[in-house]
Amino acid sequence: MNKLFAPNQTNDTVPVDEVSRRASDGFPLSLAQKRIWSLEQIGNSTVFPLQVLSLGWHTSVTLDQLQQALVQLAKRHSALRTRFHRFAGGRIEQFSDVGETPPVETLGSDSNPLTAVEAAEHEAEFISRPFDLLSGVSSRCQLIVTAQGTLKSTIVLHPIVCDDAALSILQRDLIALINNEALAPVIDDNLLRGAREEEWLETNDFTTALAHWRNLIGEEYTATTLPTRFNASGYAGAKRRHLPFQLDATLWTSVKLYAKQHALRPDLVLSAAFAILLARYSGNYSLQHGVLLSNRDADARGPIVCRVEQILPLKLELTSRARILDVCHAVDSAIVTGTRNLVPFERLVQEIQTHEEREQDAIVKSLFEFREPRIRSDLAPGTSPTLAPRSDIELALLVSPNESSGLDGLFDYAEDIYEPGLIERASIHFGRILAQAIGGTDIRIKDIQFIAEDELDILSAPYDDEGVNDDRPVHEHIAAHAARTPDKTAIIYADEVWSHARLDQSANRLAHRLVKLGVGADISVAIAVKRSPEAIVGILATLKAGGAYIPVEPDHPTTRNHHILHDGGVKVILTNSWLLDRIPDGLDATILELDKLDLSQEPDTAPDVHVHKNQLAYIMYTSGSTGLPKGVAVEHGPLTHHMQNTSRVYGMSELSRELPFLPFSSDGGHERWMNPLMEGGSIILPDQPLWTPEETLTAMRKHGANNASIPTTYLQQLAEWADLTDSAPPMRLYSFGGEGLAQQTFDLLSKALKSEWLINGYGPTETIMTPMVWKVRAGQKFEGTYAPIGRAVGNRRVYVLDPDLNPCPIGVTGELYIAGEGMARGYIGKPDITADRFIPDPFSKEGGRLYRSGDLTRWREDGTVEFVGRVDHQVKLRGYRIELGEIEAALLQQDGVGEALVVLRDDEATKQKMLVAYVVPKQGRELEIADIHSALERALPAYMVPSAIVPLTSMPINPNSKLDRFALPAPTPLKRTIIEPQNAVEAEVLDIWQQILNVSPISVEDNFFAIGGNSLGAIRILSALRQRKPQNRTTIADLFNNPTIRSFAKVIEAGNDQAGSEVIVLRASGTKPMLYCFPGLLVSTREYVKLVDYLGADQPATGFICYSLSEQKQIGASVDEIIESYVDYIRSHSKGQPCYFLGWSWGGLLAYEAARRLGDEIDLRLITMVDVCDLGTEFAIGSTPRFKPGERAQLHQTVQEWLSQTAMRAEWDRLLGVMDADTYDQFLRFVGDEKDELPTDGPDISSREHTFWILIDNALIFRRHQLQPHNVPIHSWAADDSLNRGLNLIDWRRYSPRANPAEIISGTNHLHVIGSQAFHSRLAHRLNEAL
């Protein structure tokens, strides 16, 4: 057992009297307490809400009894009377006095009781009252006499002294005290926990335990949780939402019985059910989540009221085949191992999240907590409280037995991250897991059904369609119109107009010839002519002859076409004489040249051929990502039914005149000419593979089109053109498909195309043309990367299934399967691949097949399906699962990007995996790669932003017309034109840059920062320059403002202009109020660049040079002196103008002082404070350091020896020279507390010693500074890591009445918060509010 929470009894127990003797001394806080204190400091009371024990008593309990019992309770538990003291500099200690009692307020009396409503009001007010921990004790009590003659007692404790299990102890003890029962003595060493923890963290035990977690969690991890909202990575606030639910007594009883049978604790079964819920919802069976450890079980010193609970991370490696019982055991053993290696969670997070450069995910995002039921005797029934929420984690499930022998459950989650509907369903599924899990010993995770049969029936259902299909094949439907309306137009093609009769008679004549050539059932005919009426005649003739047609695009690569002609076993090839050279030799097929064919002797009536429903209608070749194209064989029965259903969903009629733009090499292209002709309508067939948008719109207008079917990418161009020229004719319907469609594109289509209906079609060839559609009115909104692909059409069902073929809940990603009649027979000549992709349908009552699509999808709330990406298009990088399609969609939203592709590839230099994006510009456009990159940084989480974006003129295509991934070039550093220096100054600067930055060659127009320059490099460059040109006075600001060799050389030549030398122009233009950025301790203002980028072109920003880098730096300057130049600058540039301040780290103090000094001279809209803490407590005036005997002398000796060695002796002497005796003692204490040796690597600007020197110098500046109240609007943020470290963050509400509580930015620390995207989005939001 861990020493931290169960110290060795023999040498560590503190007798009661010693505790009380030392009680007036202060004791340090534990890490958990420090975090709560920090949160309290920044005004956040939502993460750890107040702990409330509210009880209604039986009428037998009297007021006197209760009052007495409370006094006894306070005597027994120091948590009820803990006080806190802040020492000079901010160190906090806690102490308690045995004699003290918490304040008790009593309302009402027997003669004058409160009504129930009054009582509830008073109680609510009492509970919501904040604590002031610096002036009062840590708890308060309220007693209310109510009208029913019963008493209500409420004890409110600050979370810093109490957790939920502690409330149970209080309740039990209070009941015992009221009944005069003897309580076992308790050794309340509550206050010693912080010190013990501190000691323990120095031991080898800690090192060993930490190694366990480092090994277990590692650097690359994925914290498991439920699926999050679309775009949840953007603005995620702290708002919480609660979903309470109940599980009935029967279920809980069965769970307990199951647990007993298998010698398990019942809560382990609940915890296992939560793990299963996470696995099934995330699709990831390598779980990393958390359980709440009450840390009470092994407490030998008796039940003490204090905060000891903590989050324990669990890692479970499961598979869907794991038995429930195995999951229970896995959870149990993970808890046991974890407990044995317990490390305070705050510390663990710090130690694991050590990546400097990137934001890191929380270690635990989802948590399970089981709360033991509380003792309930003596309490009035029906008064048991609802589960108190817990908000210190993104998503928590709390479960506790309730009064009615069932379970109360509560999901407490971040509203901006999770969809309420999803959480509600998850709560239902949690119950279903439990109910099925206990059904037997061998139940496995995959056996559990989340979706009930009736729910699945609704989700999988096709579009409502009351119509009845007839069984006549497609060509007979078309022919019927030739008889009914022979003269009506069927096809418009360039100058040709074909009537229904002409089409039918031509097809009949050719059909007779085909029959003579032996064409019949399951015999294939190649249609090797371009898209034309002739091709349609060939297709109809083939069908009439009973054969199956295979479209072959003459323009497609020869190798592909030859493969099709061989593989498809064609007996007849219909082509043109001028295309003969494209037909391979050695085929056992008759070639008919349509332009030379004389069919005048053939009858123009239909041949007498009966077509069986299972006879093939066509074979369509599709290219897989690998290998040769496969022929998908489709039969007449499913085809004609599909076409009739589609007609109704699309609302086709004899009035339909459609422009089908899809190529004949795709099955969708055939659907769109067959459909209007089957209904007696007509088509406008384009005479070229591509028309310009102008030609297309002209044709539509000229021929009165009312429908159009167009590939998504082309439709986008068409809409852009229509939008620009306002030239779209009114249309009834556009249908499109073939690519994911982003909201932005959809909005454009809605706006520009003036169409009544829009249909987004989806479908693999294997399930016939367009088995799914999303049919909506223009203007529809959707959430998600791509537009929904809707529902099934006709006699089909669609299922989103996990790898075990279990239906996924709504919102959970799974593979799309399509079932029903509407699917192909299979792949020509490939029985094994057919059997692999077309599998038995487990959901059908009649028998049938299920086609596995390879597409990742999810069901949306409205039951339609959303496309997520390809199964093989998802990658894992640094622990993150990344859907490449999502990045591609973001790229396509950028102005000018026509095509985008993202791949994961190895960086040849570092051998590490990285994301590389390839982009092709739209026709006639040029791409600014840097702009696209920064736009992606705004749109995507950091881990999804590609490391490189490579512009291409076109995507490389292989002979199968598919993307050739192997031909994608590796990203190379941008080819730069090297511009040589043109004068001596430029040459000199170039020489220095090359030396300092160690980069070569450098062009005189390269940007300093783009080629790897940073603040330290800039300082070195300046000092090197000064050595060569002692008279030169250029400053670091000059370099930042003129970041190329050419521009910088000009400044040198011009001589120095002192004004503005502290100022960096981050963005000069923009209509919004100027944002002044105040720098932190050691950082330069360049760190603000990313932020300014995010805020956009309309936000001007100015930065000031970090004081430690400033030329004007003097020893012992005051804050007032430091801000002097900033204030002057702001006054001269923004007098009377609106502006914002931003202060990061100690820059916050500078910003605040500058604001105070400027007062009404400027119109300051908002100061934004980022992780501003009081500087180290060690140097505070009045804080007296403590030394062990002899320690001071020894430290003095150490310092003297060190001074004799360091090259910075002169600087140190100056600094130590301004210290008085007390300050020097503080310095010694500081040195003694440092873990590392005193550094001697100075005076280089990047050395540890220099940093140390700056730190001490700053401490001296600030120890003399006192913050004064000033009424100014302030909004502040704190980095999560700073809270975990218990940093002494400043509560600005103490100084300004217009300051807000701080918001927390998770996954980042003090140094990197400024670059955090989560921070950027929130800052932008607040600046807009203040505008």
């Binding site: 699709g283 869907s320 085949r321 069986h612 790898p803 027979r825 029985p831 059997a835 028998g847 894992k876």
Partner: protein, 71 residues
């Protein structure tokens, strides 16, 4: 999530070749209830082995109904 990533590990050891009323073939995991309309052939093994066997035995791709009609 990644369906693709999970497939191979979660697929059970033994599969059978199955056939429907129209003589279409496929494969089915032995530990799952056989869907309506399908019957097991006496061929089992890994999923891949079963698919290889189907390559050998599924000679006529035509559904039974069509085969009879054309006979």
């Amino acid at each position: 999530m990644s369906a693709g990533e999970l497939l191979p590990e979660t697929w059970p050891e033994t599969w059978s070749v199955v056939r429907d009323r129209e003589d279409r073939y496929s494969v089915w995991a032995d530990d799952k209830a056989l869907p309506v309309g399908w019957s097991k052939e006496p061929i089992s093994g890994t999923r891949d082995e079963c698919l290889q066997r189907i390559k050998e035995i599924w000679i006529d791709p035509r559904p039974l109904g069509l085969r009879r009609a054309m006979a």
